[in-house]
């Protein structure tokens, strides 16, 4: 993932997520570190929304620890001597986990680089909480958070934010996003019309071919009809 190509508005969150991953001695920056980074910025809409579900930074951290503990318990690892895991922190920058790439893939925002930071954070949060399986959904489940309610709440917040931006006086970038959407819609309509025309042509060809075949059969065996009659 090329950080320089990320919108300016998320770079702060990304930097925080990298720090969270390093602090938790993770080899990769994963979706849970993005979630931790979002909760750390208390006062942001994303953090406020998560707080409604009791998810402040500490609570998310506890939920992640709980998830880790329960997952290890599945294979019988119950008590771990923390001394066995005490090590000097890695100085190198962690890589990107697949879950982080997935978050970005799921939240390709309509306005892209024009999104303000609060809106981008809600987009990111949406990409994080819509994961069906994995560490984050497990941690949320163990924390007693109802995922569907949380997703609904995030989507409502995003829609409210979008409605704000659609009002007259929207910025050039926002108007461009609306134009792009209209263009895509028109393209889709043209594509569907062309599929329909193609389908009709194909049907006509099939009928024509059928008729030609019948004629050909009659020509190969011109006596058939007469014989049948005699």
């Amino acid at each position: 993932m090329d950080e320089d190509r990320l919108p300016q508005s998320v770079r702060g969150v990304i930097a925080d997520a990298i720090a969270e991953a390093q602090r938790r001695a993770a080899t990769d920056v994963a979706a849970e570190h993005l979630l931790l980074a979002l909760t750390a910025d208390s006062g942001s809409p994303a953090a406020a929304l998560l707080a409604e579900f009791g998810l402040d930074h500490d609570a998310v951290e506890r939920a992640l620890d709980e998830e880790r503990m329960r997952s290890l318990a599945v294979v019988g690892i119950e008590r771990l001597d923390p001394d066995l895991l005490t090590a000097t922190r890695r100085g190198t920058r962690p890589g990107w986990a697949a879950s982080t790439r997935e978050v970005f893939r799921r939240t390709q925002p309509a306005g892209g680089h024009g999104r303000r930071r609060p809106a981008m954070e809600l987009d990111l949060l949406s990409g994080i909480v819509t994961a069906n399986v994995g560490t984050v959904p497990r941690a949320l489940a163990f924390a007693g958070v109802d995922r569907d309610t949380l997703i609904g709440r995030v989507e409502r917040a995003r829609r409210a934010d979008d409605d704000d931006r659609r009002r007259p006086g929207a910025s050039a970038q926002e108007r461009q996003a609306v134009r792009r959407e209209a263009l895509q819609h028109a393209q889709q309509e043209r594509r569907e019309a062309s599929w329909e025309a193609q389908r009709r042509r194909r049907e006509a060809m099939r009928d024509l071919r059928g008729a030609l075949d019948d004629t050909a059969r009659q020509r190969e065996d011109p006596g058939r009809d007469e014989r049948g009659q005699s």
Binding site: A25, N132, V133, T135
Partner: protein, 79 residues
Amino acid sequence: MTPQRLPSPIEPAADQLAAVVALRDLADRLEDAAVERALREGWSWGLVAEALGVTRQAVHKKHLRRLADADIDLRRRHG
């Protein structure tokens, strides 16, 4: 099972997969701690590599930068 069914993140199959994730993470952190401890106790990089069953280059690549700054006497780090 119908392919359409969305699995729960905490059903038994998900638990087992999550255990794999947690064990990988645990192995990484355990390796960091174990390598550091052995070096502090005077092991050479070569011995650590042999004990881990990997090449010395692999251990170097993974841990040298992290431990070079730690207050470990790494006189024999190239041995």
